[in-house]
């Protein structure tokens, strides 16, 4: 018994506004993009003939293909770095910190930047990375280099450095959640049966946190693939990823080309998410255990 009857008409009508909103603003526009990407001709008109020319043009261009590969490589690097780093941090926070005060303090220290603007946090990296930036000043002060290294601002390294700081907590959050839900008795039982800590970790703790790892990786994957803002802020115009190409074409009024890139981006992401969903059942998270 609850405040709503199971399979009642009321439950159906309560869901309608949200469903309509999501359909109209998310689903229809994305389907529309797929349609626009097939438009032939030059004018912006719904009567345009349909053709695959736009895709052919994209795939015929070596530069774009290389860019797509770079994007995938860049995303994979970030997933690996944030995954390992995030797991270490999550493990330390939940398993090693005993005092409730420190736990709360560390938790807040990690979660607070998450509530602030990603844009501002990306901009905050600019004074660090420039030729006269903090990193170069420190390196020269210590005596590691004689002349400033130009490899940070407007470079792939700089973008990676900033994105690691932006997205590691996305990889760590779900792991923290899963680690917290492991019953301590499980580990104790294994320890009593003389399993070494390493075996306990690999055979018990890690498999139980795997859903968290996968969800974290999906979040990082989706965010890095579509994060054109950080790339534009730190990479300047020299370094673009696939998502920046959408913007570039859009600003150049090449709506068809922009749609083609958008559709390809969407396909990449769908593949990633489907693979992840085969590993974990997201609907079970947050349910009472």
């Amino acid at each position: 018994m609850s405040t709503i009857r199971v399979r009642s008409a009321a439950s159906y009508w309560l869901a309608v506004p949200a469903a309509a909103w999501m359909l109209g603003v998310v689903v229809v526009p994305i389907v529309l993009l797929a349609w626009v990407s097939l438009w032939g001709g030059r004018a912006f008109s719904t009567a345009s003939p349909l053709t695959f020319d736009n895709y052919a043009k994209f795939f015929a261009n070596q530069t774009y293909l290389k860019l797509a590969l770079t994007t995938v490589g860049h995303t994979a690097t970030l997933m690996a770095v944030t995954g390992v780093l995030g797991y270490c941090v999550a493990y330390f926070l939940t398993m090693k910190v005993r005092s409730p005060f420190w736990r709360l303090a560390l938790f807040l220290a990690f979660i607070i930047p998450f509530w602030t603007s990603t844009l501002i946090r990306a901009i905050a990296w600019v004074p660090f990375l420039g030729v006269n930036g903090v990193i170069n000043q420190t390196l020269m002060f210590v005596g590691a280099t004689q002349s400033p290294i130009e490899a940070f601002l407007y470079s792939r390294t700089g973008i990676t450095m900033a994105q690691v700081s932006l997205y590691t907590m996305m990889a760590a959050g779900p792991v923290v959640y899963m680690l917290n839900s492991i019953a301590p008795q499980l580990r104790e039982a294994a320890m009593t049966l003389k399993a070494t800590p390493l075996v306990v970790f690999w055979r018990i703790v890690f498999p139980l946190t795997l859903p968290g790892v996968v969800i974290g990786q999906v979040l990082v994957f989706l965010n890095v693939m579509s994060d054109f803002a950080t790339v534009a802020t730190i990479g300047g115009n020299k370094h673009a990823l696939l998502s920046n190409l959408v913007l570039l074409f859009y600003e150049g009024s090449q709506i068809r080309a922009a749609s083609v890139v958008a559709v390809l981006l969407m396909i990449c992401m769908l593949i990633g998410v489907v693979i992840a969903l085969r590993v974990v059942d997201i609907r079970r998270l947050g349910a009472e255990r």
Partner: protein, 277 residues
Amino acid sequence: MSLHWKTRLSLTSWILGTLTVIFLTYQWLPIFTLGLLSFAGPTGGTTFPMNGTSFHWYEEVWRATVMNDFKPPLMRSTLLAAACSLTTIVLSTMAAQAMRGQFRGNGWFFYLMLLGIMAPGILVGFGFAIMMRILGVELAWDTTTFLVQVSWTLPFGFLTMLAVFNRFDKRVEEAALTLGASRITTFRRITLPLVLPGVIGAGLFGFSLSYDEYPRSMFTTGPDATLPLAIMAQLDRQLTPEIYAIGTTTTLFSLIAVTLCTFALWAMRRSTALRRT
């Protein structure tokens, strides 16, 4: 590996601890530097040395006119975030309550909401802008941007409410119903007060997500920019400590909002906990 396992265990603790501290520094240092550099002297550049300390750049932000005036965008962003927050609260509570009714197709509904989180802002924003162009609708921050941003904040509110409804004590609700209260009265008088902290959490989520949103707004806002758009535009024009001053201000602003709401949540939880005993 002849070390005793206890030694090895404390060694891992040390390594992981050091790593955590290094990462914390790595995450916070840029934010602190941003704050510090925003107090640079009038001749200060965008990095060290600061050439003295002053409120010059904050005064600049305050005095600015037309081109780089951040007050109207701030106003718009705040109003927009409040509107998104309220809409999210209402719609997500309705949707989560509907999920409890297990209506037909609730599985699809769940994935539809999830899609709102998964679909990247750049695609949603771009697609929606195209749709508006086809329909011939004028883009504006208080119409199109509002529609798009709610599609971003709503799924987060929905997941929050779903988790809340999964966890609260259903027996209280059942008791009220058994004692003859109608479903609507029970929901209003029993369920809603119990899940109120979750509702506030959902609203807070909505506010923060909308306030900071950039990609979705970028395609759908039209001539009057929201704050993140104004900041990005200024960054394109000229990088001065003025941007740092704005960054520090909005960061403080959102931190204060989060702290206030966390405090409200905590206070409410305490009051409900007291009543239960």
